[in-house]
Symmetry: C2
Subunit: 183 residues, 2 copies
DNA sequence: GTCTATAATTCGATAGAC
DNA sequence: GTCTATCGAATTATAGAC
């Protein structure tokens, strides 16, 4: 079957994200990705050069964080908690990064980049004392990533069972204190 | 060189924990573990049967959680935060489990077992309403594992830079609310 | 643009000598 | 108890025909 170059690349990327999210970097083989995409394994190398570069492309995604500057200051915690439960679910980028960043140094570096480039700048606009911004952003990251880890990767039963409303009620105040509360 | 059976097993286990913690399950090869232990790769199989059983033995450790029943009720949050920063550091079990649980189903299952067998029972003694215990234990796990992940695995700079006192001051109130606070 | 065939590694695990 | 030697399987990546 003949396809356009772009179509094939998109097919491969979609399959790659699926496998990287489900199995992590090592167990996600080029062969399995190609099988899911319905093409030959050699095509993957042809288009992306190597497995490492395929991963870099697959994991280079926008976390699409909400603009917390638009919500009332006393609601930023709830807004972030809502975003966390609504958008960072299964099939999103976050599980991919979590599953890979722990064993792949390139992915860990990407995680630090995403953190520094997308989460931290967003926090700076909220904090009174700019010198406190990095620590506050880091704290928000520990709770956000910990929740995603327990819910979508480890599947801890009680965390999996929490409803959207429960999650916001519990995590919202935590984020509120980390982002805009007293230190 | 001749050693006792127990000495060799201990050598292998120590090297295995080192490699599993640093590289995760897949990248921690039996060959590399044997090289660190200074013995032949075939000895690993001889003593533990398979890589999977070696991992099960290496990861079967006591988290040695503090007995939160012995501290004043309004101090359990700080006590857990202190334990988190003091004991669950580099070289401990937690990084091993984190690095492996994300890509190895057996390790993920072990993580759920550790959670259900060690953390949850400890929480039950603190909570007034027993029906709330699982959710509260799960919430504490999200913050605890998220902190360990960001600090010891991802090495996010601001999280890495936090002192023991800062960590307790920030995380203590969070744990306090999850464990013994209003819902 | 797609495929077959295969090179070059690397891994887990086994057999058997000493 | 320890080692050498090796098997069989799986992987990434390449070369080249169509």
């Amino acid at each position: 079957m003949r396809r356009s170059s772009e179509d094939t690349k998109a097919l491969i990327l979609r399959a790659a994200r699926e496998h990287f999210a489900a199995d992590g970097y090592d167990r996600a083989t080029i062969r399995a990705i190609a099988a899911t995409a319905g093409i030959d394994p050699s095509m993957v190398i042809r288009y992306f050069g190597s497995k490492e570069r395929l991963f870099a492309t697959a994991a280079d995604i926008d976390l699409r964080l909400p603009d917390l500057g638009e919500v009332p200051r006393d609601q930023v915690g709830n807004a972030l908690a809502a975003h966390l439960v609504d958008r960072w679910g299964d099939g999103d980028v976050l599980p991919i990064l979590l599953r890979t960043a722990v064993t792949n140094e390139g992915a860990a570096d990407r995680m630090r980049t995403v953190f520094a480039g997308q989460l931290a700048p967003l926090i700076i606009k909220l904090v009174d004392d700019p010198s406190e911004a990095p620590a506050r952003a880091g704290l928000a990251a520990t709770q956000a990533l910990g929740f995603a880890l327990c819910r979508h990767v480890l599947a801890l039963p009680p965390v999996l069972a929490m409803s959207r409303e429960e999650t916001i009620a519990w995590l919202g105040p935590t984020f509120q204190r980390y982002l805009a509360g007293p230190r």
